[in-house]
Each structure stands twice: as C-alpha cells, then as structure tokens.
C-alpha cells in the first residue's frame, strides 16, 4: 500500500461526490409512503400555567390526522438527563421532570404545547392556530443571579429553588486557595460573560417516526450525532420501547456541533405519534423553530481571580461561575459547567491551587447544553483573559508570563483531578511565534495607524480534554452512560472491508479517514474499505460523535477490531503457508513468513475464510468479522497556542480580523487536510462568538435573536484565511493511534485571542482603563468601551 493513501495522507473525501452533486440523503430527504406532517404549537410566553388546551375546533379542520397534547403523554416517561452532578455538600442536583409536551406549565418560549398531525404541513400549522390555549402568564425568570434570590419565582414549583446544584471543585482545596489568594503579592480579578450561543448547524433538525404494526417495530429517522444514545434514552426512558423493537437512523446529517447529541422531545413525539395515528409522521424544524427548540450553548457569568507572586508565578486560581441550564436539563447539560469546565481550569499552567465554584441555575429560557467545546471554551476564555489582564497589570510580556508558568513535565496531575499524559506547550508557542512574525507587528501597527486604524495582537494558549473518556471514571462523576466506542470490522470473501462504527460522521469525514487507518494496517487501497455508520440496525452499540472523540475512541475501537481480524487472518495464512503463526507478517496486502519468500495475498486469505476448503476448521471458525469495544484509559489533551491580529476602526468600533494563526498539537494525524478543515471551522465559530453571535432574551423571557435577521452568523467576509499548523506532535500515550482529536480546538482557542487583540488595540490608543469587553465585540460595544460606556 503506497503511503499516500494511508495514515498521514490528505486523501480527498469520498463523501464529497454525493454532496457536490445533490445526492446526499439527509433526514428531510426521506419521505415514507403515507407519511403525515407534524407541527408543534409552541408557547409564546416564557412562563405560565396552562389552564386548558382545547383542540376541538382544530381537530375538525381539513387534513387533520390527529392532535396530541401533554395529556396524551401522561404515563410516558420524562425526557431524561444523562448526567447527575453531586454538589459540594454531597447532595445530588435538583432534577425536574421534562415532559414531551408541556404538562401544567410552559417554561420557555418555544416549549411545545401540542402536536398537530395533518396531511400537509400547512394544514397542520393552520389547525395549530385554531387550538385554544388558555395560559395564565407568570413572571419569567431570566437573569441567573435574580433567579437565586429569596422569593424568586420558581421555574419548577416542585423544586426547592432555581438552583440546580452548587458545585465546588476541588472542595478540599477551598480554604487553601482562599489563603493563597489572601497572601499573594498580586491578584488579578476579572468578571466576564460567556454569552449564550445557538449552534446553528445549517441543517435544521428533522424527525420521521415510522411504525410497523405487523411486527410492532418502531423506526426513527433523525438528525443525530449518536443514534444509539437516542435509541437508549428514548426507548428505555421515555417511550418504553425495548431496544430490539426500536431502530434509530441518522443518515447524512448536516452538521451538529453538539446540538444534535441530545434527545429531543420532537423525536419522541414523532415516534410515539406514528404508532398512535398509524402513519409515518415527519417533522422538519424551520430555522425560527430551531432557535427556540435546539439546545443553546455557553451562557456563563464568571468572576475569576488569579494570584501570583511578584515574579508572576501563578499561585492560585479561584472562579465563581453561574451557569444557565435553561428551563429543563438537556441530555448532558449538568456535565458541561462542571466536569467539562472545572477540570480544565489549570489550562497549560502549573498553578498549584485551584478552586472552581459553579452554580447551575434554572431559568425560563431554552435548555442549554454542550456546544462545540462544551465547558472547555468557557474555561479557556476566562483563564486566558485573566492572564492577559495579569500581564498588563504586572507589566510583563503576555507570552513570557505564559511560558514562565507552563507545565513542562509529563505526565502532569493537575489540582483539578485530571492527568495530562503528554504535551509540549513551549513547542506550540515557539511554532506560533515563528508563524506570526511577532517582530514585524510594530511595523504592521504603524501601517494601520497611518490609515487611521488601531491594531492589536492577542495571544493565548488552550488545552482541552477530549476523547471522552473512561467509563468507570465518568460513571463516578455522574454520567449515566458508558463512554466507550465500538466497531465491527467485517472482511468480505473477496478482501473488501466494511467497518461498522458507533461513531457518526456529520461533516468530519469518517468515510475517508477511517479507511485510511484500515488501509495502513492491512496494506490495501483505502477504496477497498467502506464505512457504515448512523443506523442502530447495522452498527454495534456506540456512543456517537462529540467531544472530539471519533478517531481517538471510535478509531481505537476500529483498530482493536481490525487487530482481531488480522490476528485471525494470520492464523489462516499460517495454515495456508504451513508455517508457524508467530512467524506471519502482514505487509502491503500480503502475508509473509518471516525470513522466507513465502507469501499469500490478503484476498486469498479472506477467500479461504469464507470458502474454507483448505482451512483449519478444527482450530478456528470460518468467516472474518470481529467486533471490539474500546474504553479509553484517559482523556486526550490537545493543546496549542493561538494568535489574532485585529484592526479596530476607532470612529465606529468595528473590528476586522487581519490575521489568525493556530499552532496545535493533536498528536498523530491521519488526514491533515481534514484536520485543517476542522480547525478552520472551529476558528470561525470562535471568531463568531468573539465578534458576532449573541442569543439574547428580554426581561420577560422573549427570545430577541430568533432568526438570522438578528443572530449574526459569521460569513465569508467576516473571517480571513487562517494560518494553521499541527506539526508539533506529542502522540497520545494511551490510545493505539496516538491521536488526540481536533474538532473543538479552534472554537476553544480562538475567542480569547480575539478579545485580547481588541483590548491590545484599544490600550495602544491610550484607552488604559479598557481591560475587557464582553463578547460579542460588536462595533457598538467597542465604541462604547472607547467612549467610557
């Protein structure tokens, strides 16, 4: 097998051909004979008591097949939460019920009240408008700090307050951290907001429920990153359908970014309704509907304090964060501000003492859950912003201050309970300094100033924990699921290979990169390897794709299964060549006997496995198919150094990204082209968060940014060409590929560098009191900051 098609090759993506010719098959492209269409009537108030829902007039309207309300789901389970956090007093979090359709109360704008099923979508919508809903509006709880005050209106009457949990980490360090901060030479403090975002994959969510009355089987086609997880959650916890009678298919999925991990009410409703009305039921979200029903991301308000000695050595770090859960607990929501955030507060630095406090709060807003990076961008942003401020206060170079505090010895156990297996933070910083021409910055700044613009340079580091992660560990931390991954490697008689993976590709290019690994292992052309994913009926139980885990965990499962296959094939080859199994080597698609010129081709062995005429039947079974589950020993820790150069128009406050550079350490790389693409996309989302995106509510819980008219998505002219580099590679020590994961890095690492750069630009123009501007750094906000606002 030539090297240019295996690990390390920038193979072109095979899936592109169908996407480029309009032949992709997304969920909304699926139409089942006889299907009816669902429309959800949603609350337009943020909080209220439902007095009555009268569907009588609507039921009689043209085309209406059926109408379901909360009452139809009595006895059906609650949408489950997959992670239980225990608070700093040892108590488990408050966990409210989350009915499929609202029962008794509506708790956010967009909360579904009724589902209308009709012959056409327009008929369903028209009928929905005829449903008479009598709601007594209640005061809405929107601001997190207000929500925790005594006497605040409760989002859930049956809970003791709006506090989901009060998490302290590491609680045993609390006093020591307080002491260290009290006694430090210098403490830098920063209060900041990590604003609420909407993931906005370009494909809105879709669900098609189908029921076969003859076999009592249910099928759900859905826009999901993890069909097996949906099958488990929906089957076992909501609808009571045993998994063997439930199939979940996630075909081509048009982007996820976290928001398609979660089990949503509409999925359960369509599956349930298909059986109830005896018709396939299809629901397609409009973008407006997506804004008020997709789980949102981020939404933290934080105070961070960094204590240093006089030389700038980090002594202690303390953070106090309020994290918005929204009105209900989405699937993995409780884990985001805790285990995906608090454990990353050490960053790339050897701060000996860290204490993180997070108060998770219920509000009358759309539920908040993981969005690209999930918790890690929030950790990185506050840490890298406070270090930037500290450097200014201490009069130190921001890179030198960071380098002084880098972790340099591995493995390194942080004071926040994770162990970095490997890394080299100086190397990525060296690489970054090389790419960005820091020496030339002064001249570039002078040039900008000549044109009446301010120029700023922002630098930061990041680390993330991905490849989530050891099941026994996450189980202790409250996960209600395992976090292994699975693969079945099936070799056909003629030598072709099918890999059935529990990972799910929705843009990441698994169909191209996974075969590269198999091709490398066997020495065949990647075109002989096919990837099957996204259908619980023909893939082994897997946990899906998020948290940059596909290659690190799913790829490792595939390697394990392939190794089993190869070991078996070696036995067959040994038999065919009448040699000892221990002497068999597999290389370039042929088995050889070490030290001899004996050889048998891969295809001859695979044929023998299925046509076992000359075959050691007494020792091994025919066939060549193996399944493996891989449960990682640790997270992986990609890390890097990022830099942004901006120009600020001092008259208007408009920020333009002039340069953006990223030096990442992702360990080993399978397909560099795909890795670059993943970083590019992450950078655009991070730049979008820094400059453009903002999901805003008013005081009454009305969603103000409910469409692309007000939610500013990054466009082609908002971003530059990026300089990305991943030549610094410290391979992961605990997975067979030595890979770390690259999907989230860009989104994690980029927001602080943008904000650092803008602050740098403003400082350069004498705005010495501007240390921080909350994201997004809209022209209006930057102008206000420059004008004392």
């Amino acid at each position: 097998m030539p090297k240019d098609g295996g690990i390390g090759a920038s193979n072109k993506r095979r899936e592109d051909v169908r996407f480029l010719t309009g032949k992709g098959r997304y969920t909304d492209d699926i139409n089942i004979h006889g299907q009816a269409y669902a429309y959800f009537l949603r609350s337009d108030v943020a909080h209220g008591t439902i007095n009555s829902v009268d569907t009588s007039a609507a039921s009689a309207m043209d085309g209406v097949v059926g109408i379901l309300t909360g009452a139809d789901f009595e006895g059906v389970g609650s949408i489950p939460c997959g992670w239980q956090v225990t608070d700093r007093f040892g108590e488990v979090m408050q966990e409210p019920a989350h009915p499929v359709l609202a029962q008794g109360k509506v708790r956010h704008v967009g909360d579904p009240i009724a589902m209308v099923i009709a012959e056409s979508l327009e008929q369903a919508r028209t009928a929905a408008e005829a449903i008479e809903v009598d709601i007594s509006e209640l005061p809405a709880v929107v601001d997190m700090k207000e929500a925790l005050k005594d006497g605040a209106t409760k989002v859930h009457d049956d809970l003791t307050s709006n506090l989901c949990y009060d998490w302290g980490f590491v609680e045993e360090n609390r006093d020591a951290v307080d002491e260290a901060i009290k006694g430090a030479d210098h403490v830098t403090t920063l209060e900041l907001v990590n604003q609420r975002l909407v993931a906005n994959p370009m494909e809105p969510r879709v669900a098609v429920g189908d029921y076969n009355a003859g076999t009592d089987d249910s099928t759900l086609y859905t826009t999901s990153q993890n069909p097996h997880v949906i099958r488990l959650l929906m089957g076992a916890f909501v609808l009571g359908i045993p998994e063997h009678k439930l199939r979940v298919v996630a075909p081509d999925v048009g982007g996820g970014f976290g928001t398609k991990i979660f089990h949503y009410a509409e999925e359960a409703a369509c599956t349930f309704a298909a059986k109830r009305v005896g018709r396939p039921v299809k629901w397609t979200a409009s973008r407006s509907e997506a804004f008020m029903s997709d789980a949102h991301g981020r939404d933290h308000v934080t105070k961070i304090e960094l204590a240093m000695d006089k030389d700038g050595n980090f002594l202690a770090l303390r953070t106090d964060t309020h994290a918005n859960m929204g009105a209900y607990l989405s699937t993995f929501a409780p884990s985001v501000p805790t285990w995906l955030h608090g454990t990353l507060m050490a960053g790339n630095y050897k701060t000996p003492l860290i204490y993180v406090n997070v108060k998770a709060v219920f509000t009358n807003t759309v539920p908040v859950d993981a969005y690209r990076g999930a918790g890690r961008p929030e950790a990185t942003f506050q840490l890298e912003r406070v270090i930037d401020k500290a450097a200014r206060e201490m009069g130190m170079d921001p890179i030198k201050l960071r380098r002084k505090n880098f972790v340099t010895e591995f493995p390194y156990a942080t004071p926040v309970a994770v162990e970095y297996d490997t890394g080299d933070y100086h190397a990525t910083m060296d690489k970054l300094e090389e790419i960005i021409d820091r020496k030339g910055f002064a001249a570039r700044r002078a040039e900008s100033e000549k044109n009446g613009k301010l120029r700023g340079l922002g630098i930061n580091c990041y680390i993330e924990a991905c490849g989530i992660a050891p099941s026994n560990l996450v189980g202790q931390l409250g996960a209600r699921a395992g976090l292994y991954e699975s693969a079945t490697v099936r070799v056909n008689a003629t030598g072709g290979v099918v890999v059935m993976t529990g990972s799910h590709s929705h843009g990441q290019g698994h169909e191209t990169s996974f075969p590269q690994v198999i091709a490398e292992m066997i020495g065949i052309d990647p075109s002989m390897v096919e990837i099957v994913h996204g259908d619980t009926a023909n893939t082994p139980m897997g946990m899906g794709t998020y948290g940059s885990r596909s290659l690190a965990v799913g790829g490792s499962a595939m390697v394990k299964a392939a190794e089993k296959v190869i070991n078996k094939a070696k036995k067959i080859a040994a038999h065919l060549m009448e040699a000892s199994e221990g002497d068999i080597e597999l290389k370039d698609g042929a088995f050889t006997v070490a030290g001899t010129d004996k050889s048998v081709a891969w295809g001859d062995v695979t044929l023998a496995a299925y046509v076992p005429h000359n075959y050691p039947l007494e020792e091994i079974e025919p066939g060549l198919e193996e399944t493996a589950f891989y449960d990682p020993a640790n997270f992986t820790y990609p890390a890097g150094a990022y830099s942004c150069e901006v120009e600020v128009d001092p008259e208007t406050g408009k920020v333009t990204i002039e340069r953006f550079a990223a030096a990442d350490d992702f360990g080993n790389i399978v397909n560099p082209m795909i890795v670059d693409g993943q970083v590019h996309g992450g950078l655009a989302q991070g730049i979008g968060q820094a400059l453009l995106e903002n999901c805003a509510y008013d005081d009454d819980g009305q969603l103000l940014s409910g469409s692309y008219m007000d939610y500013a998505m990054p466009r082609a002219d908002d971003v530059p060409f990026y300089d990305v580099d991943h030549s610094c590679q410290t391979p992961c020590t605990h997975n067979p590929l030595g890979v770390k994961g690259c999907g989230e890095a860009g989104a994690i690492g980029s927001p602080p560098s943008v904000v650092n750069a803008v602050v740098d630009a403003l400082q350069s123009a004498g705005h010495k009191d501007v240390y921080h501007i909350d994201m997004p750094l809209t022209p209006s906000r930057v102008w206000s900051a420059m004008n004392g606002g």
Binding site: T21, G22, D29, M202, A716, Y722
Partner: protein, 161 residues
C-alpha cells in the same frame, strides 16, 4: 392548483402547484430534486440557491408559479455530461471546501454564478459575493480557496492544506 411548466436541468417538467408553493418545495417535493436544501426561513443562508434563467436566486424565496416558463438549473444539473464533477465541484473536493455538505449545493450554485460574471475573482470579491451563503463547518477558508482554484488561479501560496 395551477399548472406550471419549466425546464429543469435541461428537461421539460410540469406540475400542479398552489399559489403559495415555493420553488424550493416544487423542486424537492414534486421533482424529488432534494439537492436544493432549505436552511432558514428569512432568505439568508443560501442553501437553496439555484439558477433561474441563468441568475442565482434563492429558491425558498421565489414562488414556483413565478418560475413558470423559466429555465432552472439545480445542483443536480451541474456535473459534466459524463457524470463527472465539473470544475467547481472538483475544486471543492480537491480543496476540502465542504464538510457536512448541507450548504454545499448553494455554495456551488453561487460560485458558478460568480465565475460566470467574474472569471478571475479576487479573494475579497469571492468573500463578498458569498455573503448570502452561510457555512457553519468550513470557516470559509477552503471554500474561498476552492473557488479561486476553480477559476484557474494558483492557490498554492494560500496557507494550510
């Protein structure tokens, strides 16, 4: 219902539509040409861009009835006659100008429209032209690069591949 007839990807087609039927719905549901995607409802994302009488339009913001008699090209009509990718499509594959593929049909249709009017666009012209096409995956880097490459420009100096 009113009868509409048009030419789509070189073939004469007709169907019965309501006044409110959008061109995107007619293409996707009546003609089963599901390559034209619908990603928003305010005419901003551009996943639905098709060509009507040679001009890029948003098929979700045009009534099917208004396309009566028109010549329509969708992503399904873009490949070469032998079924191979055309120059733009090929450049998107060569330069990894797509990830999830959902915005891609609109991107390709917009790119084709741009290159028709401006055969050698600059980076800035491409970025500006794409303001009506939102991609959430690629960060646009490789889309811009692919379009430059499709126009025959040397993109080897553009960072990172």
């Amino acid at each position: 219902m009113t009868k509409v007839s048009m030419t789509v990807n070189g073939k004469s087609v007709s169907g019965n539509v309501e006044g409110r039927t959008l061109l995107s719905a007619f293409l996707r549901e009546d003609l089963k040409l599901t390559g034209t995607h619908v990603g928003c409802d305010t005419s901003q994302c551009g996943a639905c861009v098709v060509h009507v009488n040679g001009e890029a339009v948003k098929a979700c913001t045009m009534l099917a009835g208004e396309a009566d008699g028109a010549d329509v090209t969708t992503i399904e009509g873009m490949a070469n006659d032998d079924g191979s990718l055309n120059a733009i499509q090929q450049a998107f594959q060569d330069h990894h100008g797509l990830q999830c593929g959902f915005c891609t049909p609109g991107m390709v249709m917009s790119a084709a429209s741009l290159l028709k009017d401006n055969p050698k666009p600059s980076e800035g012209e491409i970025r500006e032209y794409l303001e009506g096409n939102i991609c959430r995956c690629t960060g646009y880097h490789n889309i811009v690069k692919a379009i430059m490459a499709a126009s025959g420009q040397d993109v080897s100096a553009i960072a990172a591949e």
